[in-house]
């Protein structure tokens, strides 16, 4: 299967682009600017939590999950862009939105200059053959009662290929992904295939119509480690041979570094850093990017050492932290990063895992329920438990004295006793904007840089 057979219009428009694409500087950015294949502008996907039974169960009775929150991203033809981040950062939702599989609540997505979000299913269908997706779990992606050949044939039929043409196209797709001889694999059911073979079949189905964009959502993370390199190698071949454009979604930085021209690091629905792969990995700028890189366990035992890991975990997207969403975990955070009342609870709980039981008991009883602090934008009222407001003030002072380096206190402007509790006021904060850093090609959303 040659690229021009797969996709005539792409082959002509890509003839020159393919060459620049293999250069380390990445596709589409060098030379004259190409029209983006996909252009994402101020994209938001907010899921309403009202009425959802899961939401009620988890105590999220109102509000929205801002799964994707104001994202801008252009993909040049033939470019591979990685979306990297922890689970819940919105990678999959962004990828799905591009294919019309997640509800866009704001902004736009364009394909070759035409807006495609909000299209009817009928108008979207012809585009589906250009925009395809590969999911994480190859097993769940294949119908267990359909042979691999039929699954591919079905996709071809939906897009109007005649019954006579289909067998050749099925064989070509199977052989293209390494399931050769096709005659051996076409009649197999998914249960007869290994994990890697299943993922090859899923990829065959995705490429059989000659797409231009492949959204690959963690395509190797469920595979055995010895198979990952094979599937990543296959995608790398496809990108080269067919000029495919990729959105490669992963939490695995190593494979992103190998495969992507550019990477976008995501955190709670936003891009916090984006730039050419080499630059982002060599000089990570956002503290979150730095943390992700530092967290990778090094297979070289001689590199064993203490690493600085951020505390905590990715917060609930329904209640994102104020200011910079990363501030509760950020080792570099300072006064205007978004400190707020609930951060107090976190640092107290953390402290209580370290002090002795006596101290824990005597300190904790001074606090009323930590969950019920009353908060406004920049003020919080912490209620006393056993003892007076003054006792609470004293306990807080002791705690602060014990660890004056704790960065939480950088954002605390004042701690004052009030009749019914202790009032904290915090430094005014703002959300950091994604802005370019001169001479790097990198954009970063962090107050340290702007």
């Amino acid at each position: 299967m040659k690229p021009d057979v797969m996709n005539p219009d792409l082959a002509t428009s890509q003839a020159g682009g393919l060459k620049t694409q293999t250069s380390p500087s990445g596709g589409g950015k060098s030379g004259k600017p190409t029209e983006p294949l996909i252009s994402i502008k101020d994209l938001s996907v907010h899921f309403s939590m009202q009425g959802s039974s899961i939401g009620r169960l988890l105590g999220k009775t109102s509000g929205a999950v801002k799964a994707v929150d104001g994202i801008n991203l252009d993909l040049a033809p033939g470019e591979v862009v990685g979306l990297v981040g922890e689970s819940g950062s919105g990678k999959s939702t962004l990828g799905r939105a591009v294919l019309g599989l997640a509800p866009v609540t704001g902004g736009s997505i364009s394909y070759r200059g035409e807006q495609i979000n909000g299209l009817s299913e009928k108008d979207m269908r012809p585009l589906r053959r250009k925009l395809q997706m590969v999911f994480q779990d190859p097993h769940a992606s294949l119908n267990p009662s359909m042979t691999v050949g039929d699954a591919i044939g079905d996709a071809l039929r939906i897009h109007g290929m005649s019954a006579e043409e289909r067998p050749a196209a099925i064989n070509a797709a199977l052989e293209r992904v390494g399931l050769a001889p096709a005659s051996r694999f076409a009649p197999k059911y998914p249960s007869e295939l290994s994990g890697g073979q299943k993922q090859r079949a899923v990829i065959a189905r995705a490429i059989c119509l000659g797409p231009e964009l492949l959204v690959a959502d963690e395509p190797i993370s469920m595979l055995d480690m010895s198979v990952r390199a094979k599937i990543l190698g296959l995608m790398d071949d496809l990108r080269r041979d067919m000029g495919l454009t990729f959105i490669y979604i992963t939490h695995d930085l190593a494979s992103a570094r190998f495969f992507c021209d550019r990477v976008a690091i995501m955190y709670l629905g936003r891009i916090v850093e984006i730039g050419p792969t080499e630059e982002v990995f060599a000089n990570p700028k956002h503290p979150y990017t730095q943390a992700l890189l530092a967290a990778i366990p090094d297979p070289d035992p001689s590199q064993k050492g203490q690493r600085n890991l951020p505390r905590g975990e990715i917060p609930d997207a329904a209640k994102p932290p104020a200011g910079c969403a990363f501030h509760p975990r950020c080792p570099m955070a300072f006064d205007r990063c978004g400190w707020e009342a609930r951060d107090l609870r976190v640092i107290l709980e953390q402290r209580w895992t370290k002090v002795d039981t006596e101290t824990y008991l005597s300190e904790s009883k001074r606090f009323g329920s930590l969950g019920s602090t009353v908060t406004t934008d920049s003020k919080a009222l912490v209620k006393p438990g056993h003892g007076s407001v003054d006792d609470l003030v004293n306990t807080l002072a002791e705690i602060r004295e014990d660890d004056p380096e704790e960065i939480f206190w950088r954002g605390v402007r004042s701690v004052e006793p009030k009749p019914n509790g202790v009032e904290f006021s915090f430094t005014e904060s703002s959300k950091p904007k994604l802005l370019p850093i001169v001479d790097t090609g990198v954009q970063v959303a962090c107050h340290l840089y702007h």
Binding site: E86, Q197, A229, A295, P297, L309
Partner: protein
């Protein structure tokens, strides 16, 4: 004279930084190593020899573990790696008597001075929890959603030990705090915790019984990069604070490097190489270990490598060395007879004919003609 040799060796190799040697003067360790080709460890907690496990398969028995032997000293952490289906989980579960009834186990498993495989199996089950602990991959499926964390601990501790609720709570809180779970959350339900916290709770639950040996089967596979790193750190710290001997099953070679003292590489039911992590990773003796290391995608990967083909059907493994159909170094003898295990002076052992070439005839050393392997045969 001998002293000088010791110092030289100590400066050259990495054994000073080997965590197992931390509490012992480096000189002593090296002296032992020089005099004893395979240093016997002082009072191992567990000693496994020639362990075998079969599952009942549709076409006859499947030998999932095939003659595995190793021992662990107190606090020693052994990483177990290998491709999917090579028998890692079967080995781990087999040691805790957690295999399905369709499985048969044979061999010797000395724990605390008794062979648990020789006696009746209720003795074995009694040890589970208190003496032998297990940490699973998916904490949520192991925690009862309707039970508070406190009740999980009280139940676990008081099934094994006759102590008061208050003492059980003290023990639980101490363990939870060591793993970074705030005591203020003791009365919460499992769903009120994040994934990483639940995994810490599972680890705490296993450690609260102060087991001497723990099997951790892919304890971080379901977690995110940063949380995984936090858990790996906790596992590494456990060596100091609780010091159970541990079998850590993982797909992540980085975690082995970070948290393990030794590593065992498993292929088709057998341990094909085992030794100190530094040794095995820097100078793999077995071609499978070498290829496995090469196929791992890391931050320094500039070229993808992979092992062609897939591990064999354990119901019908190939003749000779089980790895020979995929081995780039395979020789004529490899397709005929099973290679002997050779222990090198540094204490690592490998099961490969390359380790005893002097006993192989010239004809036996001839490169093996192999069939082409394609993607079609991969795992």
């Amino acid at each position: 004279m001998k002293h000088a040799v010791d110092n030289g060796a100590g400066n050259r190799n990495a054994s000073r930084s080997n965590p197992t040697a931390r509490n012992v003067p480096a000189g002593d360790v090296l002296t032992t190593k020089l005099m004893e080709p395979a240093p016997p460890k002082a009072d191992p907690v567990i000693e496994i020899s020639d362990l075998r496990v079969w599952y009942a398969g549709a076409n006859g028995p499947i030998q999932a573990v095939n003659g595995v032997s190793f021992s662990l000293a107190p606090g020693e952490v052994l990483g177990l790696v290998g491709e999917s289906g090579c028998g890692k989980s079967t080995l781990g579960r087999g040691l805790l008597n957690l295999l399905p009834p369709s499985a048969a186990v044979d061999g010797v498993f000395n724990f605390d001075g008794t062979d648990l495989l020789a006696g009746n199996r209720t003795e074995w089950n009694k040890k589970r929890g208190a003496g032998l602990g297990m940490i699973f991959q998916e904490p949520m499926t192991r925690l009862d959603p309707l039970m508070r964390i406190s009740d999980h601990f009280r139940e676990a501790i008081r099934t094994h030990e006759k102590i008061s609720k208050k003492d059980a709570d003290l023990r639980a809180l101490e363990t939870l705090r060591a793993l970074g779970i705030p005591p203020s959350r003791y009365k919460n339900y499992p769903h009120e915790f994040s994934g990483g916290m639940r995994q810490r709770i599972m680890i705490a639950l296993a450690l609260a019984l102060r087991p001497k040996f723990v099997v951790a089967d892919e304890p971080t596979t379901a977690l995110d990069v940063l949380v995984e790193a936090q858990i790996v750190r906790i596992l590494a710290e456990m060596k100091v604070s609780f010091a159970p001997a541990m079998l850590l099953i993982t797909h992540n070679l980085g975690i082995v490097a970070e948290a393990c003292d030794r590593v065992a590489v498993m292929y088709a039911g057998q341990i094909v190489e085992e030794g100190p992590v530094e040794q095995v990773f820097a100078r793999p003796q077995h071609p499978y270990t070498r290829e496995l290391l090469k196929s791992t995608i890391s931050l320094t990967t500039t070229e993808l490598n992979s092992i062609p083909g897939a591990p064999p059907d354990l119901g019908d493994p190939p003749k000779g060395c089980y790895f020979h159909p995929r081995c780039p170094d395979a020789m004529a003898i490899c397709g005929e007879s099973s290679p002997p295990e050779v222990t090198s002076p540094n204490g690592s052992r490998a099961k490969c004919w390359l380790g005893s070439l002097e006993s192989v005839s010239a004809a036996g050393r001839a490169p093996l003609q192999r069939q082409e392997l394609s993607a079609a045969d991969e795992a």
